[in-house]
């Protein structure tokens, strides 16, 4: 399925694109968003930059309104779900593909599942079992990945978990357990699992570790009310750490790069197969930049990207400036404009050459 520009409706908040963004009384949050901030927020929440038709309605609007517009939507949860599966390394042949699993983002958006329910389902999928075969690997992984435990420091608990996995009656993490499903349940419902999830989600969003006191408060609240994840996420989006993250720029993951390149050049998301093949290949390189450049070149040279002919660009300065804003989220400097426009007028230079220079540059690898 090829996904193009959507007409989103937020099922939780009931907002549509034409709805007036809500104004909140906080200077940083109501300040008009730059195109760079808009790109960053979109990539953080949806795992892609904005489609062309989403730019105009939102440039100059407040970040808070944009966040409120996106949070809790099915697109938001699809991205969240994809990130969780990647965290558990359920990719390639291990990616769960049953209808039940595919419906998880929909159910999350409709409020029929909580994040804890969703995480629980991951460990119950057959591919999780295949990915983590045997008692030692399985119990180690659920303890590490769900609860953030260092099993070498919890050797006794690991042995108890393995015993339960093998069908023996015991108490694992303080709760009765006598099979593999109990091992999973006890981990998922353990307080340490909520704390670990909260910490890694905060870090995923801001690129920073949370303050210890905040983490205790957030994870305690989330443990009691797992439905409140979106509210917590909104709080993080309003934090100073997130402000700092916007200034700092972060490296694009390979999956984000694959999606961003498609949206930026083709104004559509890649299909799941396209994403997986591209991500898989990029993940196969310690330094994926050569392959990222190759992908950019392939798409640009394929004639499938709607790049105008040189003769159809009446004002190269304007055009170059627009590409800087669109792809890098910032204005070009005078020097950059001069360099690019001079190059533009040379016979060997194509518009694709200019785009390739931007897309293969280190700056495009961040957002």
């Amino acid at each position: 399925m090829v996904i193009g520009p959507p007409q989103p409706k937020n099922p939780v908040l009931g907002l549509r694109p034409q709805d007036e963004p809500t104004v909140v009384p906080d200077a940083a949050l109501v300040r008009p968003m730059s195109v760079g901030d808009l790109r960053a927020v979109s990539m953080d929440l949806l795992g892609r930059p904005p489609f062309a038709n989403e730019l105009e309605p939102w440039i100059g609007k407040s970040r808070d309104a944009y966040v409120e517009h996106l949070l809790g939507t099915e697109a938001f949860w699809r991205h969240w779900w994809s990130e969780q599966l990647y965290y558990f390394m359920l990719i390639d042949t291990f990616r769960p593909r049953t209808d039940d699993v595919n419906e998880v983002p929909i159910k999350l958006a409709e409020g029929r599942l909580t994040v804890r329910d969703a995480l629980h389902r991951i460990a119950l999928t057959p591919t999780f079992d295949l990915r983590n075969p045997g008692a030692d690997t399985f119990v180690t992984v659920v303890m590490e990945q769900y609860c953030g435990m260092v099993v070498q420091d919890a050797a006794r608990e690991l042995e108890i978990g393995k015993s339960a996995y093998d069908g023996n009656e015991t108490r694992f993490l303080g709760q009765p357990a006598e099979n593999q499903a109990d091992v999973v349940r006890n981990c998922v419902e353990h307080k340490s699992a909520t704390r670990h999830f909260t910490a890694r989600e905060y870090e995923r969003l801001t690129g920073m570790a949370p303050d210890k006191k905040d983490l205790i408060r957030w994870s305690r609240d989330l443990h009691k009310r797992p439905h409140a994840y979106v509210t917590l996420f909104a709080e993080w989006m309003r934090s100073t750490h997130y402000d700092e993250r916007l200034v700092r720029r972060r490296p694009k993951s390979n999956r984000l790069f694959a999606r961003a390149l498609h949206v930026d050049l083709l104004d559509r998301l890649p299909t799941e197969d396209e994403t997986e093949s591209m991500r898989n290949a990029l993940d196969g390189l310690g330094d994926p930049r050569p392959l990222r450049s190759l992908f950019a070149r392939l798409i640009l040279d394929s004639s499938k990207a709607p790049v105008p002919k040189k003769k159809d660009i009446p004002d190269p300065t304007l055009w170059v400036g627009a590409q800087y804003r669109r792809l890098l989220g910032r204005e070009a400097t005078q020097d950059e404009l001069r360099t690019f426009v001079t190059a533009f007028h040379e016979p060997a230079c194509r518009p694709e050459t200019l785009l390739y220079a931007i897309l293969s540059h280190a700056e495009y690898q961040t957002y």
């Binding site: 983590n132 093949s277 898989n280 390189l285 040279d301 690019f340 050459t353």
Partner: protein, 378 residues
């Protein structure tokens, strides 16, 4: 006069501090310690968990490893740490046994052997490669996050199965081949990058272009067509063979992982061991057939840990019983400076490999905790 290299200097300094060989009258005189012949190292981590029982305990499974050991040194009982595949393999490359999550997908805090070699010997990124078969997680072996080392000293990593597969080929076919770069356009591109870039943007781009070209060429060499048992491992070893022939790198790590099929199938596991041995044989043949490589390359092959002593309920082999089968592994070392046909039973660990290889190449694994493998040199 022997050329004064950093390697000579370090080795001589070590000899002096040990009160060895050098007479006082010779201090300041031309260095007489013979240059080691080894100029490059291949380190193969059989990182899917492989018992010695199915390797050196069953020579028919691994004729090439046995031949290597006969021409080199066999360490039949290196001690390991059961840290999970990722952590235990990382410990081979860092010389430090530290706990890492099995599915942890992050850089470690410690420098790797690749960083030590690149920094101490001033090696270019193109001199240090790693080929893997385990996907996303394994690119983390390239470098750690230690402030004195890090990405600027990282290795090039290629995952055979991730890149050279049918799906990726189809993706490339779908988009069509990229146009050959017009020289004039290339010059413009360099100027544009310089106009945008800071630091080494142009040099970076040149290095990227070389890797890009290598990948495109490799796609025509049939690596993608490898299928069946141990296909991922065989691709990693095929890439290693091709990299050795083309780039002749100074350091080449190979990380294999398919043996972990043992959890569900003992027979499948043994087949992977056999296939890996055959592919290692091809790599060794390529090294032996190249005059330069044959006389300058050292090869180490070592699992990250073994497997349980007994079969599980699925007639497979897990790894978690703490047995000797799990905690000790057999390691073969082959190279122009090594003894031939020796077996060393002294107490050693898999983390000793980093220190040993760094010393062999003239570098120092400053933060590694492993010692040196004894009985190695002829």
């Amino acid at each position: 006069m022997t050329h004064l290299t950093r390697r000579n200097l370090l080795r001589t300094a070590g000899a002096v501090s040990a009160g060895a060989l050098l007479a006082p009258s010779m201090l300041g005189a031309p260095l007489f310690v013979p240059e080691r012949k080894t100029q490059r190292v291949v380190l193969i981590a059989m990182a899917g968990g492989v018992r010695t029982r199915e390797t050196f305990g069953m020579p028919d499974n691994v004729p090439n490893l046995v031949a290597m050991a006969k021409e080199g040194v066999l360490y039949p009982k290196l001690r390991t740490s059961n840290l999970g595949h990722f952590g235990a393999t990382m410990s081979i490359f860092t010389g430090l046994a530290e706990a890492r999550g099995i599915r942890e997908n992050a850089r470690g805090p410690d420098p790797t052997i690749f960083e030590y070699l690149r920094k101490d010997l001033g090696l270019d990124k193109g001199d240090v490669w790693v080929t893997t078969s385990g996907g996303a997680q394994q690119v983390n072996y390239s470098y750690g996050l230690h402030p004195e080392y890090g990405p600027q000293y990282g290795a090039n990593i290629l995952d055979g199965d991730g890149i050279f597969n049918r799906e990726f080929e189809e993706l490339l076919e779908r988009w069509g081949k990229p146009k050959a770069a017009d020289p004039e356009e290339q010059k413009i591109l360099e100027r544009l990058r310089r106009g945008m870039g800071k630091g080494d943007a142009v040099k970076d781009a040149e290095q990227q272009a070389r890797v890009e070209e290598y990948i495109l060429n490799e796609l025509t060499r049939g690596t993608s067509d490898i299928r069946g048992a141990a296909a991922g491992d065989r691709k990693a070893l095929r890439l290693a063979r091709n990299l050795m022939s083309i780039f002749k790198p100074k350091m080449l790590g190979v990380v294999l992982q398919n043996a972990d099929i043992a959890h569900s199938s003992y027979n499948g596991y043994v087949e992977v061991v056999r296939q890996n041995d055959a592919a290692i044989g091809e790599l060794m043949a390529a090294i032996r057939e190249d005059e330069e490589l044959a006389t300058t390359t050292a090869v180490f092959v070592c699992p990250e840990f073994g497997r349980d002593a007994d079969l599980n309920a699925r007639r497979g082999l897990d790894h978690g019983d703490g047995s000797d089968d799990l905690r000790t592994v057999g390691c073969a070392a082959w190279g122009p400076d090594f003894k031939q046909g020796a077996t060393v039973t002294a107490d050693h660990k898999t983390i000793d490999l980093t220190t040993t290889i760094c010393e062999l190449m003239g570098a120092k694994a400053k933060l590694a905790k492993g010692g040196r493998l004894s009985g190695l040199y002829s």
